[in-house]
C-alpha cells in the first residue's frame, strides 16, 4: 500500500495543532474554526479511503483466501537499544485499526463541527481547536501503532490532550482539579502499563505487535516458566498492561477520574471521554488478544473487573442528577460491557464472537454515545445547567434535540432496529456461550442501562416544564450543532445493519452474524420492561420517585455519592499516604538529610566566624603575623641545618 495516505492521516492533525497552536492567537475565530474543521474533514476523507481500500478492494495485500491480513504499511526504526530490542514508529493496518480510523475521524469531525457552534463565545477558541487536533493526532497514532512502545507514547499523548481539554476552562477551580485528577489517576495506571511493557519485552525481546501476536506460544515459552507470587510472569505482564487499560477505560477502582472529567467542554466529553480515548483500554486488550488467549487467567481477571464495574456504574447512574454525570457512568458501564465481552471470548466459542461483538459495540457505542453527549451539550447550551432538575418538558421546545436524543437512548437501551441492539445482542450471546452467569448478570446490567437512560430522557423531555422557560425560552441549537446530531442519529439507526462480522474478527476470518432468538428476545423484553418502568415513574410529574427515594434513603445517598469511592480515595491518600508515609519521609528529609546539609553549612559558618578576625584589615596585625612567620621559618631552617 502506498504510504502517502497513512502519513497524511497522521501529519494533517499534528500540523493543524502546530499551526493553530502557534499562529492561532493571530487568527480570527472563524478562520481557526474553518481551518480545524477542514483539516479534520480531510483527515476523515483520507481515513475513509484507507479503510475502504482495506476492507473492500480485495487486494491480495489485505485479504488472502478470505482471511484479512495484518499489514505494516511502514515501520521505521526510531531507537535501537539492542539488536533485538528496537523501538520503531509505524502504521499498522488491520481490521480493528481500520475500524478505529473510521470511528475516530468521524466522531472527531462531528465534534469539530459541533464545537464551532458550542464554543463560539468562549475565550481561547483557537487554543481549543489546537488541542482537539493534538488529541486526534495522538489517538490516530495510538490505534495505528505497530509496536507496544509506540502505543505507549501515544497513550501518554492522549492523556496529555485529555488533561489539557478537561482543564480547558482553567479559571474554574473544579476544572483544574478534575484535570489534575484525570492525569494523576491515569498516569498512576500507566505506571503499571509501563512495567508490563518492560516485563513483556524483557522476556520476548520485542515490542512488535505482529511478532508478539503471531506466535504467542513462543512468547509463553520465552519466559522459561518463570513465576512471580504464584502466577507466571506473562500473566503478570498482561495484567499490568491491562492495568494501564483500566486507567484509561475507567474500570473499577480507577474509574474515579471519568465523572469529574465532565468539567471539560461537552464536545470534548463526547470525543474523548465517550467515544475514543476511554475505549483505548478495550482496544489495547483487543490488540494483544492472542497473547491474552494463552493466559486465560488474565482474561478471567478482565471479565470479573468488567462485570463488577458495569453493574456498579449502572447503579450509580440511576441516582445522579447531572446529565453529563449520568452519561459518564453510562460510558463506564458500556466500556465494562465491552471488556466483559472481550474477557469471555474464546476461539472455540463461536470463533471468539465476544471479540467481534466487543469491537462492534465499540463502534456503535462511539456513535450513539457521542450523539447523546452532543445532545446533552445542546440541552446545556439551551438551559445553561447540567442538572435535569432545571429541565423537563423540553420536547416541545427542542424537537431536533429531542428526536436525536431519543434515538440515542433507544440505541443504548438495545431496541431493535437501532445499532445498540445488534452489538449488545452479540455480546450477550458470547457471554451466555461462555457461562450463563456472565450472560444473566450482564442482561441485568443491560436492563439497568435502559432504565437509567430513559429515566434521564423522561426527566429532561417530559416530566414538568420548568417555569423559567417563560422568561428564557429554550430553542434548538444552530445548524453547526444540529447537523452532527442528525448525522450521528442516522448512523445510530443504520449501523446495526453493517455486516460487522465479515469485516472485523479476531483472526481475520469472516464470521456470519446470526441473531440468537432466545438471547435477543430476553434482552429486548428486559429493555422494554425497564423503559416501561421508567415511563411509569417519570413520564408525568408524580410523587413516586420521591417516595422511592424516601423509602431507601441510605441506598439512594450511597449511590448518589457513587458509593463513596472518592471518599475512600481521599481517605487513603490523605490519611494513609500523606499523613503516615509522606510525613515520615518528610521527617527523614527534614531531620536527616537537611540536617546533614545544615550541619555542613553551620560548620563552615562557625569556622569562618572564628577565623574571620584574622582578616582584620589592620596592617599592623598582618605585619606582626608576617614577622612571626619569618622568625618561625628562620627557626625551622636553623633546626634543619643543625
Amino acid at each position: 500500500m502506498d504510504i502517502t495516505l497513512p502519513i497524511l492521516i497522521l501529519a494533517i492533525p499534528i500540523s493543524m495543532f502546530l499551526i493553530l497552536g502557534i499562529g492561532g492567537v493571530k487568527m480570527s475565530r472563524k478562520m481557526a474554526g474553518v481551518l480545524g474543521i477542514l483539516g479534520m474533514g480531510t483527515t476523515m476523507a483520507l481515513a475513509y479511503t484507507v479503510a475502504f481500500t482495506y476492507f473492500f478492494s480485495g487486494d491480495s495485500a489485505f485479504i488472502v483466501d478470505g482471511i484479512r491480513q495484518q499489514l505494516q504499511v511502514f515501520d521505521v526504526t526510531w531507537l535501537a537499544f539492542t539488536e533485538k530490542l528496537v523501538v520503531s514508529i509505524g502504521f499498522l493496518l488491520d481490521p480493528i485499526s481500520a475500524m478505529m480510523l473510521v470511528v475516530i475521524t468521524t466522531i472527531s469531525f462531528m465534534v469539530h463541527l459541533y464545537s464551532w457552534g458550542y464554543m463560539e463565545h468562549e475565550p481561547g477558541f483557537q487554543r481549543y481547536y489546537a488541542f482537539l487536533s493534538l488529541f486526534s493526532f495522538s489517538m490516530l497514532g495510538l490505534v495505528v501503532a505497530t509496536n507496544i512502545f509506540q502505543m505507549y507514547i501515544f497513550w501518554e499523548l492522549v492523556g496529555v490532550s485529555s488533561y489539557l481539554l478537561i482543564g480547558f476552562f482553567y479559571k474554574l477551580p473544579s476544572a483544574v482539579s478534575a484535570s489534575k485528577k484525570a492525569f494523576i489517576v491515569t498516569r498512576f495506571a500507566d505506571l503499571g502499563f509501563l512495567i508490563g511493557i518492560l516485563v513483556l519485552s524483557f522476556y520476548t525481546n520485542t515490542f512488535n505487535f505482529a511478532a508478539l501476536t503471531s506466535d504467542p506460544a513462543s512468547a509463553l515459552a520465552s519466559t522459561g516458566g518463570a513465576t512471580f507470587m504464584g502466577a507466571s510472569v506473562l500473566t503478570w505482564a498482561l495484567v499490568l498492561i491491562y492495568v494501564g487499560g483500566m486507567g484509561k477505560s475507567a474500570m473499577m477502582p480507577l474509574h474515579i477520574w471519568l465523572p469529574d472529567a465532565m468539567e471539560g467542554p461537552t464536545p470534548v466529553s463526547a470525543l474523548i471521554h465517550a467515544a475514543t480515548m476511554v475505549v483505548a483500554g478495550v482496544y489495547l486488550v483487543a490488540r494483544m488478544f492472542p497473547l491474552y488467549l494463552v493466559e486465560e487467567s488474565a482474561l478471567t481477571f478482565i471479565t470479573c473487573v468488567g462485570a463488577i464495574t458495569a453493574f456498579y456504574a449502572a447503579v450509580v447512574a440511576c441516582c445522579q442528577i447531572d446529565i453529563k454525570r449520568i452519561l459518564a457512568f453510562s460510558t463506564i458501564s458500556q466500556i465494562a460491557f465491552m471488556m466483559v465481552a472481550l474477557g469471555v471470548a474464546r476461539p472455540e466459542l463461536h470463533d471468539a464472537m465476544g471479540y467481534m461483538s466487543s469491537m462492534f459495540h465499540l463502534f456503535t457505542h462511539a456513535m450513539f454515545k457521542a450523539l447523546l453527549f452532543l445532545g446533552a451539550g445542546a440541552l446545556i447550551h439551551a438551559v445553561h445547567s447540567n442538572n435535569y432538575t432545571e429541565m423537563g418538558g423540553l420536547r416541545k421546545y427542542m424537537p431536533i434535540t429531542h428526536w436525536t436524543f431519543l434515538i440515542g437512548c433507544l440505541a443504548i437501551a438495545g431496541i431493535w432496529p437501532f445499532a445498540g441492539f445488534f452489538s449488545k445482542d452479540e455480546m450477550l450471546a458470547a457471554m451466555f456461550a461462555n457461562n450463563w452467569i456472565w450472560g444473566a448478570w450482564m442482561t441485568m446490567v443491560a436492563g439497568l442501562t435502559a432504565f437509567y437512560m430513559f429515566r434521564m430522557y423522561f426527566m429532561v423531555f417530559w416530566w414538568e416544564e420548568n417555569p423559567h422557560y417563560k422568561e428564557h425560552k429554550p430553542h434548538d441549537a444552530p445548524w453547526q450543532m444540529s447537523l452532527p446530531l442528525i448525522v450521528l442519529a442516522t448512523v445510530s439507526c443504520v449501523a446495526g445493519f453493517i455486516p460487522f462480522g465479515e469485516l472485523v474478527t479476531w483472526n481475520g476470518a469472516p464470521y456470519h452474524i446470526h441473531i440468537d432468538p432466545v438471547v435477543a428476545t430476553t434482552s429486548l423484553v428486559v429493555a422494554v420492561c425497564a423503559i416501561g418502568l421508567a415511563a411509569w415513574l417519570y413520564m408525568k410529574k408524580n410523587s413516586k420517585p420521591a417516595a422511592m427515594k424516601n423509602a431507601m434513603p441510605t441506598l439512594w445517598k450511597a449511590a448518589n455519592r457513587r458509593f463513596y469511592w472518592d471518599e475512600i480515595y481521599m481517605f487513603i491518600t490523605h490519611k494513609i499516604i500523606f499523613n503516615i508515609i509522606c510525613k515520615s519521609i518528610a521527617w527523614f528529609d527534614r531531620h536527616i538529610i537537611d540536617a546533614t546539609m545544615d550541619g555542613f553549612a553551620k560548620v563552615t559558618q562557625r569556622t569562618s566566624v572564628a577565623i574571620k578576625g584574622m582578616q582584620s584589615g589592620s596592617i599592623q596585625a598582618y605585619v606582626l603575623w608576617y614577622f612571626f612567620g619569618a622568625v618561625l621559618l628562620a627557626l625551622v631552617t636553623w633546626i634543619c641545618l643543625l
Binding site: Q620, L624, F627, F628, A630, V631, A634, L635, W638
Partner: protein, 176 residues
C-alpha cells in the same frame, strides 16, 4: 688595628643610633619622634662616611635628612596641633610588639654571630686599604653606563618612578 679615634667615633655614633631609634619609636610626641629619626639618619650617614662611602653619606643627608624629614615635619604640622600626644598604647599591643622585636632581634643576632663571615676578623683599615677609592667619575659611570655592573636602566626606572610620585602626590593631596 684601627685607630683609637675611629673606634671612639664608632661608639659614639652607634650608641646615638640605637638610643635615638628606641626613642623615636617610644616617644609619644610625634614631632619629637621625627626629630629622633633625623638623628638616626644622620648617624647612619656618619657610618657611611666611616665606611668610605662619602657620596652615599652625602645623599643620605641631602635626601633623607634634608628632603624626607622636611616632608615629615610638614605633614606633622599639617595634621597635628603642637601639644598633641598620642594615647597610651594598649598593653596587648605592646606585648605583641615587644615579643616581635625581641624574638626577631634575637633570631637575627643569633644568625649574625653564628655566620661564618663573622669569624673573619678583618679590620676596617684593612678593607679600606683593599678597595680602591670611589671617585665621582666612577659613580657616574656606574649609574649611567650600559655595561655589566652598570645601572642606566634602573636609574631611568627610578627617575620615572619619581616623576610618577610627583604627579601622584599632587593628585592625591590636592584639594577637591
Amino acid at each position: 688595628m684601627d685607630s683609637v679615634g675611629n673606634i671612639i667615633l664608632y661608639f659614639v655614633v652607634a650608641i646615638c643610633m640605637v638610643v635615638f631609634s628606641f626613642m623615636a619609636v617610644t616617644s609619644r610626641k610625634i614631632l619629637r619622634a621625627a626629630t629622633y629619626l633625623l638623628f638616626v639618619l644622620i648617624s647612619t650617614a656618619v657610618f657611611y662616611f666611616q665606611l668610605g662611602y662619602q657620596f652615599l653619606g652625602a645623599v643620605q643627608i641631602a635626601v633623607y635628612a634634608g628632603g624626607i624629614m622636611v616632608l615629615f615635619v610638614f605633614s606633622i604640622l599639617l595634621t597635628h596641633k603642637p601639644d598633641d600626644t598620642s594615647g597610651q598604647i594598649e598593653s596587648h599591643r605592646r606585648i605583641a610588639g615587644v615579643c616581635a622585636s625581641v624574638l626577631g632581634g634575637a633570631a637575627l643576632l643569633f644568625a649574625l654571630f653564628t655566620m661564618p663571615v663573622a669569624a673573619s676578623g678583618c679590620s676596617l683599615a684593612e678593607v679600606l686599604a683593599a678597595g680602591p677609592d670611589i671617585t665621582m667619575k666612577e659613580i657616574g659611570h656606574t649609574l649611567l653606563g650600559t655595561d655589566k655592573f652598570r645601572y642606566l636602566l634602573p636609574f631611568e626606572a627610578v627617575s620615572v618612578l619619581l616623576l610618577a610620585c610627583i604627579i601622584g602626590g599632587v593628585v592625591v593631596a590636592r584639594k577637591r
